[in-house]
């Protein structure tokens, strides 16, 4: 005879409203670091499929290795994107456009590094410098992967159109889309580390975007071409982008001598 008394089933607790749910926190035990000795491909796969494993790897003392690997990946992806960009003008831009795009991102990151450190501290996130660099590199790497994803579309348009204005606009839209994805990634990673979103990180992303836009103007021409590799004329990025000569040049369909 079975003496076991069936336990009354407890009613399911009501689901917590979304706002009351505890914020996710990155604790070392939460996520498993990558197996074995991860290399470039493993980091890339983790970035796309399981970013939490990558965060865990960074927290597990591998921040410098992850950061340097991601920097290499960024350089490779942006070079690919730069080659397609350089196709528009041809000539020496095949070489200069990828070099300038990689330099644009790396130099902007370097200029904004001190403010990133201070803003991270203000956000009360416990992070070492290399951990912070690794998280930022992960976000920029995601941006560069997205830019590579747009390469076939850009290639088709580059082969089809002569309009510099249209291509410039298209590049800006693509960078904005990729930038939004990268920003979301960076904010999410800080949210995991801190437990709640921080306005300081958002402000840093805004400053980094401004520096990136100004850098694209400083290193011009990137999309168009000219007889000189760089131009000595100093210009604020907004006045450069909105200059009437550029529009006039673009409408005439000229790819040459357009400082873009």
């Amino acid at each position: 005879m079975n003496n076991e008394v069936p336990m009354p089933k407890l009613p399911e607790p009501p689901p917590l409203p979304e706002n009351d749910l505890p914020p996710p926190r990155l604790v070392k035990d939460d996520f498993t670091p990558l197996d074995g000795k991860p290399g470039l491909l493993e980091f890339l796969e983790a970035l796309l499929k399981t970013p939490k494993s990558l965060f865990s790897e960074i927290q597990a003392g591998q921040a410098r290795k992850v950061a340097l690997s991601l920097m290499l990946l960024i350089a490779v992806f942006l070079s690919g994107y730069g080659i397609v960009t350089g196709l528009f003008s041809g000539g020496s831009q095949w070489i200069w456009a990828p070099v300038k795009i990689v330099a644009m991102v790396m130099l902007s990151g370097l200029i904004c590094l001190p403010s990133l450190y201070i803003f991270t501290c203000l956000s009360q996130v416990e992070m070492k410098i290399w951990e912070m660099i690794a998280h930022t590199c992960a976000a920029i790497c995601l941006v560069s992967i997205l830019l590579v994803g747009f390469m076939p579309v850009l290639f088709i348009f580059t082969m089809s159109t002569e309009s510099l204005k249209f291509m410039g606009f298209m590049h800006i839209i693509i960078w904005i889309i990729a930038g939004i994805a990268g920003s979301r990634f960076l904010l999410t990673s800080f949210r995991y580390l801190r437990g709640s979103p921080s306005g300081y990180s958002a402000l840093w992303i805004f400053i980094f975007s401004l520096v990136l836009m100004q850098m694209s103007t400083t290193l011009r021409p990137i999309l168009g071409s000219s007889d000189d590799v760089f131009t000595s004329e100093k210009k604020f990025f907004l006045s450069h982008w909105l200059q009437p000569e550029f529009s006039a040049n673009a409408e005439s369909g000229s790819r040459r001598n357009s400082y873009r």
Binding site: P114, Q214, K234
Partner: protein, 243 residues
Amino acid sequence: MSSPSPLSKATQLCRGRSEELRQTLLSGGGSFWFWLTLIWIAGGIYGFTIGIGRSPLQAGYTAIKFPMILTGIIYGNALLNALIASLLNIPLQFRQTLQVMSMCFALFTLILAALSPVFLFFTWNLPDLSSPDNTITYSAFLLFHVCLIAFAGCAAHLRLFQLTTHLCGDAQRARWVLILWLSGNLLLGSQLSWNLRPFFGSPELPVQFFRPNAFERNFFEAVDLHVQHLINPNPPRETHHEQ
């Protein structure tokens, strides 16, 4: 036990853990000189980036004058701030009030110094500011500076508020202390910045450490003149815009 390194002390200030900052406050007078040195180094770096848009000499002058203003505010308002703290029952001695103020300004200058590479990069890319075609660019650049100075000030005072709340255990009193301290600092700071002008240096005026009329009028009279200049289409000569 070894004392923390300057970098870890600065990091601690930025992270703003109230208990850690309270311990720093109680640790003694040595910290005050550390924060003051930090103000002079970080403030000097930021001052340099302000003045370099005009000339290297102006950059040198502003690198001295910017931390000079902050030090002037800390010392000039020391007695007033200590009295306010005492009246509102905040458990701070005179020396500790000085130290709290210097910590607040140290954080302010640290944030601005961290942004200095960004400012320098934009300054380097600015076109010739003496050209009338570039007045909008110049104004946008000044606005960018003002916005980031305001942001750094807000962030530093937020930390000050968190610390005073932790010290007195009452957010209401901490708020009052913050408002009164801030009002006193703004009053003295605005006048000191008027007396020690120029900082950016107008392109059409010579580079000088002090203007010859540095002690003529006060900040609020100058603001009044600027308002009248906006209303009156014929501006008097002495209402020159100077930053």
